[in-house]
């Protein structure tokens, strides 16, 4: 198996951290994973990008040319990266984002940012909500491992809230699946 995930949004939304936690979760689940991200001034104010490749065999080339899964938390980042996703890909976006795309079948819209506000009182945990959603899209990763990594990586004192946000993401996904099926 090999999954290529691109997490995108604006600088400060914590997508790099989310990518790292995802990759670490994969590794703890005895998979291989590599994570890369965008750097430089554009990574601050503007569009930010974190990429994770997860596989059960050796991963050599570490860049993603055609993501299997694209997460976008801002309209701008979706607009920039949508073209890279091929038809069989999956798109996960916040409900506030408009997706004008007919070719891609799997488009998931969730109130990611609002859910964060619900759990945390602000949008800072949107990354963890998103991670919850993503965790349901990638087989073979034990969500417990993601949580362990999360506890290690988030600022002290915020562990519980982040876990709650993560679980909220899982819930969002599962509810929608139930609704659809």
């Amino acid at each position: 198996m090999k999954v290529e995930v691109r997490l995108s949004g604006s600088g400060g939304q914590g997508l790099i951290l989310a990518g790292i936690i995802l990759a670490e979760g994969a590794i703890s689940s005895k998979l291989n994973a590599v994570q890369t991200q965008s750097y430089g001034p554009e990574a601050r104010g503007g569009a930010s990008k974190s990429e994770v490749i997860i596989s059960d065999s050796e991963i050599n080339f570490p860049k993603i040319l055609k993501p299997k899964i694209l997460l976008s938390l801002t309209q701008k980042s979706l607009n920039e990266y949508l073209k890279d996703v091929d038809k069989s890909g999956i798109i996960v976006v916040d409900s506030s984002i408009e997706v004008e795309c007919r070719e891609i079948a799997n488009i998931y819209k969730f109130p990611i940012i609002d859910s964060s506000k619900e759990v945390m009182g602000s949008s800072v945990a949107a990354n963890m909500v998103a991670l919850g959603v993503l965790s349901q899209l990638i087989d073979d990763i034990d969500t417990e491992n993601i949580k362990k990594s999360m506890i290690k990586r988030v600022p002290k004192g915020t562990e519980k809230l982040n876990i709650a946000a993560f679980e909220k993401g899982i819930e969002l996904f599962n509810m929608s699946i139930h609704a659809n099926h």
Partner: protein, 383 residues
């Protein structure tokens, strides 16, 4: 996942490897994409009684690094292109005074400020020729995070064993990549410490023409009050204008590397046993090569990879051996064609040597390698 399985960035693995090897001093000046090395050092060193200092610039950083080395510390500095250019004068000094130390250059796209966050491997030649005057140099270039750890340990070992600066030539691809690494247990990897003098304090010659070419090294403060100078010097370390002393010194500097190539040269072969096309690459680009080979092999194209980890001195003899029965050589590097010059020089004109190069800040993808190979060679190779 064991305790020692970690997700680490290449730059982080470099710091972890350095500390494993015994690094207890780091001096640096921030520059993308090497900054994480300074940052992690600043966090970890104080916890183990190590010393971290951010200096006013890159020249001061390498100077402080050499100073700490003379005081007995395993020391390191890290930078990227522009900073590496600035450090060149002092790299030559470290080489001539035989001060062990590790200089990391996380290569980025140049020249000048270039594209600071984009990858490149265009400082390969600079690592050998960047400073004025002839001098020997060891440079290592890892292609994975795990290898970064290992080669950083090796870099310190070589520095200490041969009393010489060692350059760790990372590239942005590896430096900024996070992947799985199994941190070796204490004692698992060999750690070398510098040879210390055992003679009487007044008989000590810091630059003795000894049998293994590497004189023992006393630290400042241990009672061996010797002299260090970047002028040509005699065995005692004092300046000399004598051409014969100068000749002896220079020869010893080269000898200590040349006599130990077996120890110093590190490389890997990947599916070369039956290959009729040989990729030659180093650092992050080995990764693209491997993916390309996997795919080409599926199409029955017999491609192998000679991945060079000790880039300087260049492993000429080994390359000759690997390439003995292969006529088509493809050198894959993110530059305008630097390692290919060494390959050409080593293998001569009988071989069909081409380069796959890119200098626009993008990595070379497996597809590009596959396409080039198909275009250039496939007509004749695949039945």
């Amino acid at each position: 996942m064991t305790e020692r399985t970690k997700l680490l960035q290449g730059n982080e693995a470099c710091v972890q490897g350095a500390i494993y090897a015994g690094m207890r001093f780091f001096a640096g000046y921030p520059i993308t994409p090497s900054t994480e090395i300074a940052e992690l050092s600043s966090l970890l060193l104080p916890k183990i009684k190590g010393k971290f200092i951010q200096m006013e610039d890159e020249i001061a950083s390498i100077a402080a690094t050499i100073g700490a080395s003379l005081a007995g510390y395993k020391s390191m500095t890290a930078t990227s292109g522009p900073g590496f250019s600035l450090k060149q004068e002092c790299i030559g000094y470290a080489s001539l005074i035989e001060s062990p130390c590790v200089i990391v250059n996380v290569q980025r796209c140049g020249p000048s400020t270039g594209l600071p966050t984009s990858p490149s491997q265009a400082d390969l030649m600079q690592a050998k020729w960047g400073t004025h005057g002839d001098h020997p140099i060891i440079a290592l270039s890892p292609s994975t995070v795990e290898e970064t750890f290992e080669l950083t340990v090796k870099a310190f070992n070589f520095a200490e064993k041969y009393r010489t600066p060692v350059i760790l030539l990372l590239d942005e691809v590896v430096g900024h990549l996070r992947e799985k690494i199994e941190i070796p247990k204490a004692g698992e990897l060999e750690i070398v410490n510098r040879k210390k003098p055992t003679c009487n304090k007044d008989e000590y010659k810091a630059y003795e023409y000894c049998e293994d070419f590497v004189p023992p090294m006393a630290s400042i403060g241990e009672g061996y009050r010797y002299n260090v100078t970047g002028l040509m010097h005699d065995e005692t370390g004092f300046p000399t204008n004598s051409t014969s002393e100068t000749g002896k010194l220079m020869n010893r500097l080269f000898e200590k590397i040349e006599a130990n190539l077996d120890d110093i040269l590190i490389y890997d072969e990947y599916k070369t046993h039956d290959a009729n096309i040989l990729l030659v690459s180093f650092g992050g680009m080995c990764r693209s090569c491997k993916d390309a080979i996997k795919k080409l092999r599926k199409e029955n194209v017999k491609v192998g990879l000679f991945s060079i980890k000790t880039v300087w001195p260049f492993p000429e003899e080994k390359l000759k051996e690997v390439a003995k029965n292969i006529d088509k050589i493809v050198v894959v590097e993110m530059n305008k064609g630097q390692m290919i010059q060494e390959v050409q020089r080593t293998l001569g004109k009988d071989k069909d040597i081409i380069g796959i190069n890119k200098i626009n800040g993008e990595v070379i993808t497996p597809i590009e390698i596959i396409d080039t190979i198909k275009e250039e060679y496939l007509r004749c190779l695949v039945k």
